[in-house]
Amino acid sequence: MQIIAQILFLLALVAGIGFFIRNIRKLIRNIKLGREVDRSDNKGERFAKMARVAFGQSKMVKKPISGFLHVIVYVGFIIINIEVVEIIIDGLFGTHRVLSFMGGFYNILIGSFEILALLVLIGVIVFWIRRNLLNIYRFLSRELKGWPKNDANYILYFEMVLMVLFLVMNATDYQLQLNGAPHYASEAGITGAFPISQFLLPIFEGMSNATLIIIERTAWWLHILGILFFLNYLYYSKHLHILLAFPNVYLSKLRPQGEMDNLQSVTDEVKLMMDPDADPFAAPAEEETSAEPEKFGASDVFDLNQVQLLNSYTCTECGRCTAECPANQTGKKLSPRKIMMDTRDRLEEVGDIINKKGKYEDNGKQLLDDFILREELWACTSCNACVEACPIGIDPLSIILDMRRYLVMEESAAPNELAIAMTNIENNGAPWPYNQQDRLNWAKEN
């Protein structure tokens, strides 16, 4: 009987982890559909930023309430997962609390897991209340209707259930140890400390050991199967941030936020135009004629770079960007969170086509217009509030800029007044129609 449980456990573990790896490979494949971008510089600074922002949650706590609750759930998640190591060993080898040889330290560990589990449970309940009962601006946006809202709630329910299972497992285990049940009780006394689950004991009072074992085993199995399921749910949800936040922060921009990249393809063109030695009648070199001319800006996910695509998978839809966006606050359609969600949804759509057909075949859709509207793109003031607000280094502004570049340089589709301002800059060196020769007139006026 025991050996069957061990084999079933091994199968569940292999299936859970195998499926997870399969999904991660798909994720990497999809991200690699984007343009390459070199972020291999300044490794030390990048590690320090990752330690501070991702591991240290430094930007999360800028909003004190949600930040504090998030730190609890985050710390709880990491620490309680140490317990998963023990569960895996116990499951594979049929042992009971294999790490208990650590003695007093083990009791401290289990005790602190219990306290954290309770805190996580409370935190997650407060999160649910904030999301569903309170009118918090960033949870009311259009883009959260339907699946994104449900997704967020499923994750919260899941965490609640996992924590309850953990505590029930411990409580019944404790009761079994108190009852002196074989396999559970040990000569040395009680294994583990149960500062929280001891209060659950009255529920199990008077139950036979057989019943208790069934409850304990059920909670144990559901807990570990739940974790394996959750691991695989990540890929289909917004919750990937628990893994991707780290590489995402590592790869985020280190330069001043105000700096926007200079397009190399344009630099080459401008250099050629300004080169007095350039031969206007020169035939293009062989390789140049065969290569497709590089597209300016982005109209689809293929035109974005790999960090931007990673950004889209990392976004957990918290909406801090949208809450800070001046356009969004004043009722415009633009929502930086939606830019990230749309990018991810389009990338997933492309990924699904590749899954089914082996390669991408045009399905008549693209990121521009079918997902992100021009009206959204033109509402941006490039103020960087969204970039500043993101706790894990996502840059919605860079996607907005790349899509504007496509609109202007490939489609000449700037709003009329902007087109006029650009014409002015081109003709007289200022966005207004003033003669460049009048540029110093102010010095003579009084």
Binding site: E259, P326, G331, K332, S382, A430, Y434, Q437, A443
Partner: protein, 263 residues
């Protein structure tokens, strides 16, 4: 008519075989916009007051390309950048100061990769350095004790992390500096950036500058201080929209310092 300002140009310096210690990059708004021209003049007065050896490009200056770049016209931006860099490098410019955070950001961050490497300062940073060196006196004067709030320009603050230089100058004016609930890295945009200055906003329920003006009004200031000609325009319009132009002034930090000393 008062005496005209003395504003030397790089061409004049070159002709005299001299080089100024700093180039004052005036910018399009500072050159052509009637309101912004006052900021330009106030800053020039302060430069004279501090005895700074400076020059402007005058008719050789052209738009940095910031609005074009942020509107998506990278091509036009790089054309502008290439032309400007050629002029700046031709004059062997080493240090640039500007009263426009957009010009500041572009020349400081986006020109280097295109061959334009200069030390670039926003005018509030430059004024603060003059103050530290003892070249410029900043004293309360008529603004002493007045309730003033500072609106952070996005391209000075979030974009380049400079929040303190303008505030340090205001503190020196012995004003009662009050902060809006959205300030520094959380500051709300005035609504002009990213090319919005030159177009009508997208449909919504409010203009961004009205929202920002309301935030400023919450702290009941006598003056809204700004550090950007575009913010200045947007906030001035916002104050007018609230019919408060008689009780609330919108002024650049440079203007406040110059006016305090009756320059």
């Amino acid at each position: 008519m008062a005496e005209a300002l003395k504003v030397p140009t790089m061409a004049e310096y070159m002709a005299a075989g001299k080089k100024p210690e700093v180039l004052f990059w005036v910018g399009c708004a500072g050159s052509f916009d009637d309101r912004a021209k006052k900021i330009t003049k106030a800053f020039v007065k302060l430069l004279h007051e501090a005895g700074v050896d400076f020059a402007v490009l005058g008719t050789e200056e052209s738009c940095t390309g910031d609005p074009a770049k942020r509107a998506g016209n990278e091509f036009l931006f790089q054309m502008q950048a290439a032309t400007n860099i050629e002029v700046l490098n031709g004059y062997e410019i080493e240090k640039v100061v500007t009263a426009c955070p957009h010009c500041f950001n572009t020349i400081k961050n986006e020109y280097p990769a295109l061959g334009g490497n200069y030390e670039v300062m926003h005018h509030t940073q430059f004024l603060k350095s003059l103050l530290n060196e003892g070249k410029l006196k900043v004293e309360g004067g008529k603004f002493k004790g007045k309730r003033i709030t500072f609106h952070d320009p996005c391209y000075l603050g979030r974009a380049n992390g400079e929040y303190e230089a303008p505030r340090d100058l205001l503190r020196k004016l012995e004003v009662e500096l009050v902060e809006m609930r959205k300030c520094k890295s959380n500051g709300l945009c005035c609504g002009a950036g990213g090319g919005q200055m030159f177009k009508e906003p997208e449909p919504g329920n409010k203009d961004v500058n009205i929202e920002r003006t309301e935030q400023a009004m919450e702290v009941k200031p006598e003056v809204i201080a700004a550090g950007c000609p575009f913010c200045n325009t947007m906030m001035t319009d916002g104050v007018k929209g609230k019919n408060k132009e008689d009780s609330v002034a919108v002024m650049d930090v440079a203007e406040l310092i110059a006016n305090a000393q009756d320059l």
